[in-house]
């Protein structure tokens, strides 16, 4: 379980958000929504301690991630898989090697086992024929899928997605959404999705948290979101040109 308690973050004199508190239950998919620049990705980076809060704490299964020493922090981080906005693939190695990369360093698996495991994850994201393509040869959607395969190869407990559908065409976005849903179901993973794509959020999330006006402005289930009379939330949803059914 991920617990975020009274988190406050500023960059210099620029307050990002203040007093943000929310819980992400095991097995749940939470979408963090809000306008561009409201600090969604900043919040995501706090969950894996890539950024330190000014105040407040992030608890992973009851342990404050900011109190851990670096060795403990790295162990906790191995329980996370993160899909970055642009995929963040290592461009010095092939797409396949990107997926195999964590296995080579963190496991004692044989070469054949590493190849089998990597191929299994690539098959899950429908890229079983990727061969030894370099990352430069991949499209935006393929990069995200390779990034997703790399994120799940170590069988994490938590998956964090930073704008998984941004910059993709609707068809590819739907493919990514389907993958997120199938990951959550088949691997029983707790997921946090950063997005401003409401079409995607309504399909994949169990709950949504709305960051607005430098605070956590609203949090609730997707059904509650559909019925909510929160003006700024509704304005945000309507602005995304999606009609709530």
């Amino acid at each position: 379980m991920i617990e975020i308690r009274n988190l406050t973050k500023s960059f210099g004199s620029n307050l990002i958000w203040k007093d943000v508190s929310l819980n992400i239950e095991d097995g749940q998919t939470l979408a963090i929504i809000g306008k561009s620049g409201c600090g969604k990705s900043v919040l995501l980076k706090h969950i894996v301690a890539l950024l330190q809060p000014d105040e407040g704490e992030v608890l992973i299964d009851g342990r404050n991630i900011n109190d851990l020493n670096y060795v403990e922090l790295r162990k906790i981080r191995q329980r996370f898989g993160v899909l970055f906005q642009g995929g963040a693939l290592f461009d010095s190695i092939s797409a396949f090697e990107n997926v195999a990369f964590p296995l080579r360093y963190f496991t004692n698996l044989s070469e054949s086992e590493i190849r089998a495991k990597s191929m299994e994850c690539l098959t899950m994201v429908n890229l079983q024929n990727i061969g030894n393509k370099s990352t430069a040869e991949l499209s935006g959607g393929m990069r995200k899928r390779v990034g997703l395969a790399r994120a799940i190869v170590m069988q994490p407990d938590y998956l964090l997605y930073d704008e998984p559908t941004s910059g993709l065409d609707p068809e590819t976005s739907d493919e990514i959404n389907d993958l997120i849903i199938s990951m959550a179901k088949s691997l029983d993973i707790t997921s946090v999705v950063i997005s401003h794509d409401m079409h995607s959020v309504l399909r994949i999330a169990d709950k949504a948290a709305f960051l607005d006006e430098q605070k956590l402005s609203w949090i609730g289930t997707i059904d509650e979101l559909r019925r909510s009379d929160h003006k700024r939330l509704q304005s945000f949803v309507k602005a995304s040109e999606y009609q709530l059914i």
Partner: protein, 244 residues
């Protein structure tokens, strides 16, 4: 204030690199490729630099020392000693500050702005151990080798230029041998070790903390090359003052 932050961040990165240097299994693979990129790939430019430095110095010394009171072997002595103590290590380091410094800052800067370093960290990697330690180690271990190659090329270039100007190679080498001291080589090796560290550490720092997209990487690369040159010159002065 900015200078203090720079100083603090730089020392923190160095501290992390020293602590991470025990994680050999993390950076073993990268170390070999860094040896090749820093050492082997630099050899053509280093040999060229050495050859022409030695040749020009010989021609210039011959031109300035036109005196019947001085034996011709003095030219060999001056050229050889200047190359061993100062010129081969300083000039090759200044050339490599651009080549190696820019490469390191661009590689790490691009990894930083495209979130590849964040990806490493979130996987549970020690990114400093994986990226910074092999580059700095390659610098401090390969620069002394580069110094030896550049020195040999410099003396070779001096001999060739001397022969072309009527100075027999035996006379040139006789002067070189007469004023040769082993401590000068040790001094040059110490300089090479320090310059290798300075160039790679500064460039790693600039790249590792790059921000602001392509423009930020460009800025980090320029600063890495310029600062590496400045620190090479400064440390050259201090080493000369302390060791000579």
């Amino acid at each position: 204030m900015e200078l203090l932050r720079y100083f603090g961040d730089f020392n923190l990165l160095l501290y992390r690199a020293i602590r991470s240097s025990t994680e050999f299994s993390t950076y073993r693979g990268n170390l070999v490729s860094e040896f090749v990129k820093t050492g082997f790939d630099s050899l053509p430019i280093v040999v060229l630099t050495g050859l022409f430095t030695g040749a020009v110095l010989t021609i210039q010394t011959s031109y300035q020392l036109v005196s019947s009171l001085l034996p011709a072997s003095v030219i060999g002595a001056i050229v050889t000693q200047s190359i061993i103590i100062e010129l081969s290590v300083a000039i090759s380091s200044l050339v490599l500050a651009g080549r190696i410094g820019a490469r390191i800052a661009t590689e790490l800067g691009t990894m930083r702005v495209s979130e590849q370093i964040d990806a490493l960290e979130t996987m549970g990697f020690n990114s400093v151990s994986y990226l910074v330690v092999p580059r700095v180690l390659a610098g401090i271990l390969m620069f002394p080798v580069i110094y030896v190659v550049c020195t040999a090329a410099g003396i070779g270039g001096g001999i060739v230029a001397g022969v072309m100007n009527g100075l027999p190679s035996e006379t040139f080498l006789e002067g070189g041998r007469e004023y040769f001291f082993a401590r000068d080589i040790i001094f040059g090796l110490i300089k090479a070790f320090v310059f290798g560290f300075v160039i790679t550490a500064v460039s790693c720092y600039k790249g590792y903390y790059a921000s602001g997209g392509a423009e930020g990487v460009g800025k980090a690369t320029t600063q890495a090359a310029v600062l590496s040159c400045v620190y090479v010159l400064l440390s050259d002065f201090f080493l000369a003052a302390v060791l000579l």
